[in-house]
């Protein structure tokens, strides 16, 4: 096996050792032979591949010419054998300080065989663009899954996706000055908003009226702006404008914080799936540092991830009931959920934001007597949920509102790379817990569970998928408690290698969470990209809404379990809005130096 460290030759744009795209330092042939499909891709795009390497276990990177980017992405996405392959997201990086180029890198979750983590792998397709012309042919023109990410890199890094069908602003606010790109490394913090904000809403189509759902709406828990174009009560078309709760987290992570501090920031991306983000981030860093974490730590992480899934599914079903006016269901779902919160509070020290992770393991051990408590709670939840479902699914009015509403066909789900329960309700067989190599950070491969898949694709199917999953999670928790190994809970990491990249991922209760980390110097993070599942699910919501009633809109939107704050993590901190401390890069450095100088 070739170790990650052997596969160096990073960040030399024109790898001088590479003749015909072969890197002399790494044995390309042996890398390509590791997984099915890699070789075919290499043969198909031979002239355009500049470099290929393995980043870490199950993660492969090809540096390709930018001209063939759409073809390369679609080659994977439409692979006839690997049916569930999808474009996960992409990441844009300002690598000018390193090699004078911008980098844009879509990555795909390649599924050779569903639920076989040792056969599937990630493929990163990196293109370098010159600093004075950061343009690349748009993938979004052919694949809707890339719609948002290309708008995002256009906003934040000033890239130019040529041929993008909808090049409006996605992330930056309307009053943000032009030509200021927050994620560029030479970004100046002193710009203030322009005086006249420009809105770029889509025109209302002929013969329809506009119903603005949001930015603040009782049926949407967080700020999100769905502009429904309706005829009577029927929704004809939808425009979405979001990113109102955008906090500059990625930029903050790249500035002052060390890799262990970023972990706590990662946990605070979302109030619901925080631990999933924390584990994903920790996994990414552990992968790039190439350390194994102790078994016991893996088990404790998995236990908490599943407990989080349990209470979040209950939370979601409560909200769904609330949105169709079934408040009793709402209250009872949350009542059943409360013991899990209490349990987690005792296991970790907090109801949410567990703060349990540290890169290399976990911070608190699971004391033996708590095992009984976990099992007790699991039993309680199982009984309570069964009773609840008995009543809720026999409530005629509730079923009437959920059945046959918001149907998302399989093909649309795949084209938008919809993830998680939303995708599984539409018949997609994906689950990042088993699809990809989570075995380095979690223990899913050592327990037995099923992944429920429904074909209907309506709201009811999404309810049922989640409820089935909840029972599976309870079963996983019981197995974990039973099999819990002894030993350490933490491996020290020490210093991180510089300029390494890796991906961490988990299956949150909404879909696959992805954290891409590229290290910088001195244990800092050079680029940190977070992609929450809602980022892929939300663009598909307009497709679900079309043709249904305005009354169905809240439940359809909620049926993907949207989390806006996860999705919209990256906003740049505004100079004018006082509250948050805003510092220039130099001041940042000064401060960190000042605090460093204690010893």
């Amino acid at each position: 096996m070739v170790g990650t460290k052997d596969l160096e030759a990073h960040f030399e744009f024109e790898c001088k050792a590479c003749e015909d795209g072969r890197c002399s330092k790494a044995d390309v042939e042996s890398i390509l032979a590791e997984r099915k499909g890699l070789k075919d891709f290499y043969e198909a795009f031979k002239e355009h591949i500049r470099e290929c390497k393995r980043m870490t276990y199950g993660q492969y990177m090809f540096v390709i010419d930018r001209e063939v980017l759409p073809e390369a992405v679609l080659w994977w996405h439409n692979h006839p054998k690997f049916k569930e392959t999808h474009m996960s997201t992409a990441v844009g990086t300002d690598e000018r300080p390193l090699n004078g180029h911008f980098a844009y890198m879509p990555f795909l979750n390649v599924q050779v065989e569903p639920f076989k983590m040792d056969e599937n792998y990630w493929v990163f397709l990196k293109v370098y663009t010159p600093a004075d012309d950061p343009s690349f042919p748009s993938v979004a023109a052919k694949l809707p899954a890339a719609l948002w990410i290309e708008r995002e890199v256009k906003d934040l890094l000033g890239f130019k996706p040529v041929g993008h069908p909808d090049p409006r602003r996605l992330i930056l606010p309307e009053d943000f000055p032009d030509g200021v790109y927050p994620l560029r490394k030479d970004m100046d913090y002193r710009h203030s908003p322009i005086t006249e904000p420009r809105t770029e809403y889509r025109e209302t189509p002929e013969g329809t009226t506009l119903v603005p759902m949001g930015p603040v709406h009782a049926g949407v828990e967080e700020p999100a702006h769905f502009r429904l174009f309706v005829k009577g009560e029927k929704i004809v078309d939808v425009d979405y404008r979001g990113f109102y709760s955008h906090r500059g987290i990625e930029k903050t992570g790249e500035g002052r914080l060390t890799y262990n501090q970023v972990l706590f920031l990662a946990e605070r991306i979302c109030g619901i799936c925080g631990y999933q983000h924390s584990v994903s981030y920790a996994m990414a860093v552990e992968r790039l540092a190439d350390v194994e974490i102790p078994d016991r730590a893996r088990y404790i992480r998995t236990l908490l991830l599943e407990l989080e899934r349990i209470h979040n599914h209950l939370l979601w079903v409560g909200i769904a009931a609330h949105l169709v006016g079934y408040d009793t269901g709402f209250m009872h779902a949350w009542r059943i959920r409360e013991p899990v919160m209490w349990l987690v509070e005792r296991l970790t020290g907090n109801r949410k934001q567990y703060g349990m992770n540290i890169v290399g393991g976990v911070r608190r051990d699971l004391l033996d007597y708590r095992k009984e408590e976990v099992l007790k709670v699991v039993k309680e939840i199982r009984e309570g949920t069964k009773k609840f479902l008995d009543i809720a699914l026999n409530t005629n009015t509730f079923i009437k509102r959920a059945e046959g509403v918001g149907i998302l066909p399989y093909k649309v789900a795949k084209a938008y790379s919809v993830l998680g329960p939303t995708a599984r309700a539409s018949g997609r067989k994906i689950d990042a817990r088993l699809d990809q190599a989570t075995k380095t950070a979690m223990a899913y491969h050592e327990v037995d569970f099923k992944v429920p898949v429904y074909k209907e694709g309506d709201v009811l199917a999404r309810v049922l998928v989640r409820m089935d999953e909840l029972f599976e999670s309870l079963w996983i928790v019981e197995q974990l408690i039973d099999q819990m190994p002894d030993g350490d809970i933490f491996t020290p990491i020490g210093n991180l290698p510089e300029y390494q990249e890796a991906l961490g991922f988990t299956e949150a209760h909404r879909g696959e969470v992805v954290h891409y980390v590229m290290t910088g110097e001195k244990n800092k993070v050079y680029r940190w990209k977070v992609r929450a599942p809602t980022y892929n699910n939300l663009p598909a919501v307009p497709e679900m809404l079309k043709g249904y009633h305005v009354a169905d809109a809240p439940i359809i939107i909620a049926s993907i379990d949207p989390c806006y704050s996860c999705t919209e993590r990256v906003q740049f901190v505004d100079v004018e809005t006082g509250k948050v401390k805003v510092l220039t890069e130099a001041e940042f450095n000064e401060l960190s130096i000042k605090y460093k100088g204690v010893f």
Binding site: G325, D327, R401, P554
Partner: protein, 306 residues
């Protein structure tokens, strides 16, 4: 004159009940719902406190339209005048010839006021809510008219007091009662039929733009309307079968019975509300249309003397 004093007394009692009881009924409903949801629930006075707070607050007026300002008061006046047309004991405070027809229209006025209030502002949600209210009214009112027709035909009068005095039990009347319970429930706008004011879908519908005192008045009107419809139903359910009510003592007994039944029906309604999700407007329209045809059949039965 002695009779007049008794009449005055009953009318006053009726007015007091009609003005003071409705928010308490809502308080009971909230308590019942809370218990069904394993919560503690607010005190019985809570709806009064809410109204008190709203009455004390100024309203924001998003439009210059006078309709916007007057609609809540029209709704309140309509609801109160509808309540005055009902019997309290054996006394109807405002008693005249065709008062069943007037009752029908006056109750309708509350919905109409709500509808126009929603249409008087430039707000998509208000308009949607008004449109929904209109659809509900247009489908449920014919049903109610047909049912009133059955009752009037059966008793041979269009006066509420006369109907109560002369109603006799036939299969058609019993069926009418069942259907009337449904129709009045729909008109009251309880869950699952609170579609026009749905909080999560159209953020309050016609009430979206209302605030402060005007909103309070609207709420008060809606509570009184709900009470009136229930009181009407309870009166039909009890008074015709109590036999002739001559003495003030028996009348007081009848009033007490009405009162107790009204108060005890409210928890049942609350339980129904708590165990249902909100329906969609097209589903309600379909249900109402079916009920309307059933009403026509009952009317035919009544004409045949069943």
């Amino acid at each position: 004159m002695a009779l007049d004093i008794v009449k005055l007394g009953f009318s006053l009692a009726g007015i007091l009940i009609m003005l003071l009881l409705p928010p308490y009924l809502d308080g009971i409903a909230r308590r019942v719902k809370a218990r069904l949801q394993y919560r503690r629930g607010p005190p019985l006075m809570q709806t009064w406190y809410d109204l008190q707070k709203l009455f004390a607050l100024p309203s924001v007026r998003p439009t210059k339209s006078a309709l916007f300002t007057w609609a809540p008061y029209i709704a309140l006046a309509s609801a109160i005048s509808a309540a005055l047309l009902l019997p309290y004991g054996n006394v109807v405070p405002v008693d005249f010839g065709f008062n069943l027809v007037v009752f029908f229209y006056v109750i309708l006025m509350v919905s109409v006021a709500l509808m126009f209030a929603g249409l008087s502002v430039q707000n998509a949600f208000s308009h949607l809510g008004s449109a929904r209210e209109m659809q509900i009214v247009l489908t449920v009112e014919p049903l109610i008219a047909v049912l009133y027709g059955v009752l009037a035909y059966n008793a041979g009068s269009l006066n509420i007091a006369d109907i109560i005095a002369n109603l006799h039990a036939t299969p058609s009347v019993i069926l009418t009662y069942i259907l009337l319970a449904y129709a009045l429930y729909v008109e009251s706008g309880f869950v699952p039929f609170d579609i026009a004011e749905a909080e999560q879908e159209v953020i309050g519908g016609p009430l979206t733009e209302y605030s402060g005192r005007l909103l309070g008045v609207f709420y008060y009107a809606i509570h009184i309307k709900r009470f009136t419809l229930l009181w009407f139903f309870v009166s039909l359910l009890t008074l015709p079968w109590l036999g002739p009510i001559g003495t003030p003592g028996r009348a007081a007994l009848a009033l007490a019975l009405q009162f107790i039944l009204t108060v005890s029906f409210y928890p049942v309604i609350a339980a129904l509300e708590a165990t249902n999700a909100r329906l969609r407007i097209d589903q309600v329209v379909k249900m109402n249309t079916r009920a309307f045809f059933a009403g026509i059949i009952i009317l035919a039965m009544a004409f045949m003397g069943w």
